[in-house]
Amino acid sequence: MPDKLHNQEESSLNLNSFLTLIKDKSNSFFIDVANVIEYLQTVLRNLFTKTFEFQEFLKQCYQIGNKSVGLISITGIIVGLVLTIQSRPALVEFGAVAMLPGMVAISIIREMGPVITALICAGKIGSSMGAELGSMRVTEQIDAMEVSNTNPINFLIIPRVLAATVMIPILTLYADAIGIFGSWLGINLKDNVSLDLFINQAFAQVEFIDVFPAVIKTFFFGAVIGLVGCYKGYNAGRGTESVGIAANSAVVTASLLLIIVDLIAVQITDLF
């Protein structure tokens, strides 16, 4: 049947083009990663040899906090609530409901808090850095800075990267706290536990090894978000459409890279 033959050919063609697509995409991702690492070298060289724009750094810290704190509050509380409601039946079955606060606290502190905060910030902060710097590039504002005797890496990039590196850990701790509070709300849907008792139960099981690596990795998350956002915006192309492309690919590349960094962090933590 000629019709069927034709169909088969088409589907193998589709599979091929799908594979090529994946190959191209992953290629461009690795090229991106290599470029971001090269960019990091430039940023570090400038950080240690040029004057630091402290005013800009504070401004960026404020903006990062201000932009994302609302979203992080809502997501944090919902994650805590949902985790608690979902885990409860399983624990009830084993008669271990008393473990619920500790278990939820550990999963929030070790994984949910850092990763969710980082992904939200990749969407919110990474994209806005990509768009803002991209439009500064397209409208020649970065060039104007350069001829005004101002190194754009110093004035624009370093404050943003450092602000993200400092603020993401702070926002994560905040998200952890909100998430644990959400968990308390979740428990109180069925039981009646005072906040005091809940916190005692939760932190009885949390150990230093749960907290420390989680905090360390958030610094890396922050650096990734800042660097990728700045890299994409700073190197935007010439037309107006480059601004959208920069913002979009900042989010995509940063999110993917965050997950990979998380995987590496988990592997390293596992060694101890």
Binding site: E140, Q141, E146, S148, T150
Partner: protein, 247 residues
């Protein structure tokens, strides 16, 4: 630097610049003399903006040489480049105002980073004066997004002139302005030259502006300098390509 008549401030020799396969500048030879207004004419896309961006090293040229004062821009080091950029003011075709700053902050940024040792009050006076010169004293506390295209252009001009540089590169200073303001800006370019004895390269398509400001004209065609000469020489030239600009 001592100023003599016909002292060469910028010397461009056999300058070449390509983007990929596209040859934009293909052997430009040009000089800017002391205290003169040099107008650069050429069709859209002929590489005029690329040429002046090479002069401030925003774009690196491929071949040839550019000398600004005693500095050669090919392989210039960072300290020397700072000295070159302190001498040169640059008006961008797109005005390039900093979106996140008010008009006052835009001017303060340029002034504080290019000139040292002004008190707060001196800076303020200079900024107000520069804005008055371009007819926009009321916009001092506005954001760029609140301004029209022509207004942005004038603020961009004020930001360039407030620093009072030795050499000014104007990329289409009167494009997008009404005839009255265009005329005022052309006069401002002349006044600045008369008062501060600086030199300028002016890219423009506005023939009235050319007639007001030009001491010399250079026309660019196919990546080369097609003709250099005085305004009269251009107006009296029979060449149809040249005439098409002056009609």
């Amino acid at each position: 630097m001592e100023k003599k008549a016909n002292n060469v401030l910028i010397g461009i020799n056999d300058l070449k610049k390509s983007f990929g396969d596209q040859k934009v500048l293909d052997g430009i030879n040009l000089e800017l003399h002391d205290n003169e207004n040099l107008v650069v004419l050429g069709k859209s896309g002929s590489g005029k903006s690329v040429l002046i961006k090479c002069i401030v090293s925003l774009l690196k040229h491929d071949e040839g040489s550019i000398k600004v004062g005693e500095y050669e821009l090919t392989d210039i080091n960072e300290e020397d480049l700072i000295e070159v950029r302190k001498k040169i003011g640059f008006l961008f075709q797109s005005a390039a105002l900093y979106d996140s700053m008010t008009v006052r902050e835009n001017l303060t940024f340029a002034l504080s980073r290019l000139k040292e040792g002004f008190s707060e009050e001196e800076m303020n006076n200079k900024i107000v004066e520069a804005l008055e010169n371009v007819g926009m004293p009321d916009s001092i506390d506005k954001m760029p997004s609140e301004l029209s295209g022509g207004m942005k252009k004038r603020i961009g001009l004020a930001r360039t002139l407030v620093v009072n540089p030795d050499i000014i590169l104007y990329d289409e200073p009167t494009t997008g302005l009404d005839p009255v303001t265009s005329h005022e800006i052309s006069n401002l370019i002349n006044d600045t030259k008369g008062k501060f004895k600086n030199s300028s390269i002016i890219i423009t398509h506005d023939i009235n502006c050319v007639k007001t400001v030009a001491d010399r004209i250079a026309m660019i065609k196919d990546g080369k300098v097609y003709k250099v000469g005085s305004l009269e020489a251009f107006i009296n030239d029979d060449d149809s390509y040249i005439q098409s600009f002056f009609k």
